[in-house]
Amino acid sequence: MLSLHDVHLTFNAGSSAEVRALRGVTLEIPAGQFVTVVGSNGAGKSSLMKIVAGEERPTRGRVQIAGRDVTRLPVHRRARDVARVFDDPRAGTLPELSIEDNLALALCRGRRRRLRFASGRARRELMRERLTPLGLGLDARLHDLAGLLSAGQRQSLTMVMAGLRDPRLLLLDEHLAALDPGTQARVLDLTIALVRRLGCATLMVTHNMEHAIEVGDRLLVMSQGQVIADVSGADKASLSPERLVETIVAAGDVASDRMLIGEAVA
């Protein structure tokens, strides 16, 4: 489904401020596989997500989604296949627009937008149908502004928006990071249910080692722009958060990362 071949991403190439964010990442993720990605700050996780989403173009290498070479395609032309949930709950929704308008916008993802009403009775029914299982009462609040929702509600809404058009690839970019532990658990349950329903390939970046181990089929550890560990099945299940931290630290990361990962394990 998702294929990265020798992908490099370098910022400020040739200058003293040169940063090699990705260094020859090669990766195959089949359809339906749920992959979690961990690594310290600067390991290349976000760069990987940006390359897959189309926000950055690789300096070298090739990206394919569903057999289509998308290396040079901008974000909006990949949206047919790719849905994304950002780390900041405010980034994935439009606070000045109603819940209905936010969902209507997502309903058009990957289709040519036309001069017909963005929302009608049938679409509102579909929206309510998708919102009801959340149990947040959002199905009765379609006309409320998205800005009135809490961070957890907004991230739940973003998850629903991501699943509206049945994407082939779901990108979750630290989407639980800004939520309190209780809300994290609820949105994580929602994530697992959504991925199960969609049956799509999923790439989830997280700083939470327990989530990285417990959720999904496969775990990637990134460090210094490379995938340094790729585990799945029994190997993944036998990992402990402490051992995962040791792996990342042993890869030569800085002291501040120990603190960050230490917090995640705690």
Binding site: A53, R84, A91, L94, D101, L105, R114, A118
Partner: protein, 314 residues
């Protein structure tokens, strides 16, 4: 008093399309496009030149709107291809098109007194009837523009246009081409300003090369006043359109009222600036002050015991 209202409608209604265009950039994109000043003047210049040359009214109006829309496209091109910020691109356009407008008209000012306009058929009517007919025609055009734009903003394309100004990254991730949407918003905004210039020239009976100066600033004042009056929220498209209409008319009411009170026409620019400042201040401080006053009034009206319980006067 009734003449103040008539004058407000006669001078305010032609400005409504420009105010809507300014709102599209100022509120939907949170940007300033000074091309509006130029496209308003060019819309007027094209209309005057064509009507004075014997062209039909529909032809002149279509050409004015198309020319102004093309100016929006040029600003979008400067922004997207040369990476010039919209504000600076607009400044360049407004300076450059002063010369273009002079070329179009040939002279700094063109009179349409003898030419055919939208309103020349009302020349034989009494002054009151002519004003009423002019207001009816302008009102019809403005209503058509507001309804059409209100409906457009509720379409799939219109929704993406509204979204792209709020959160470009999210809109892009939802599959919308934000570069195309930027072009569309600048074309529409300037086409609407051109339509206003076209209507003003026909209502006033003349075009002047300086007529666009201050249009953007006046429009922003009208937008702020309208928002203060009707408080439109993001998804309330119809209410937003009504707020823009109310804002444009309220803004003109201030100027017409100032003239009626004996203010010399030379001071109108100062009144325009003052109204803008008041509108900005009222938007920021008006609602909290109103809430405070309402609370005080409610407190004063409550019985003494209830006031003591609520802690009033402590």
């Amino acid at each position: 008093m009734s003449q103040v209202i008539v004058d407000t409608l006669l001078t305010g209604l032609p400005l409504v399309p420009a105010v809507v265009g300014i709102w599209m950039i100022f509120r939907l994109r949170e940007d300033f496009d000074l091309t509006i000043d130029a496209s308003f003047a060019t819309g007027g210049a094209v209309t005057a030149a064509l009507l004075a040359g014997g062209a039909s009214v529909p032809t002149a109006m279509a050409a004015a709107v198309a020319a102004a829309g093309a100016m929006g496209l040029m600003t979008a091109g400067l922004h997207l291809l040369l990476r010039v910020p919209v504000l600076l691109a607009g400044v360049a356009m407004s300076i450059g098109f002063y010369s273009v407008d002079l070329r179009i008209m040939g002279v700094p000012s063109v009179s349409l007194v003898e030419g055919s306009t939208l309103f020349s058929g009302f020349a034989g009517l009494s002054p009151g009837a002519a004003d009423a007919a002019t207001i009816a025609v302008l009102g019809g055009i403005v209503a058509a523009v507001l309804v059409a734009l209100g409906l457009f903003l509720r379409t799939e394309v219109g929704l993406a246009l509204r979204a792209s100004g709020v959160n470009e990254r999210m809109t892009r991730s939802q599959g919308a081409d934000v570069r195309a949407l930027l072009c569309l918003s600048l074309v529409l905004a300037n086409a609407l300003a051109g339509l206003s210039g076209c209507l003003v020239v026909q209502a006033d009976g003349f075009a002047d090369v300086n007529m666009g100066a201050g249009t953007l600033i006046a429009g922003i004042g009208a937008v702020l006043l309208g928002e203060l009056l009707l408080r439109p929220a993001g998804s309330k498209v119809l209410r937003t359109m009504l707020a823009l209409l109310a804002g444009a008319l309220a803004y003109r009411l201030v100027l017409v009222g100032a003239l009626r009170l004996g203010l010399p026409a030379t001071d109108l620019k100062a009144v325009t600036a003052l109204t803008l400042i008041v509108a900005i201040a009222a938007e920021r401080y008006g609602r909290p002050l109103l809430r405070l006053a309402r609370r005080r009034l409610e407190g004063a009206a409550a019985p003494l015991g209830a006031r003591a319980e609520a802690g009033v006067g402590r």
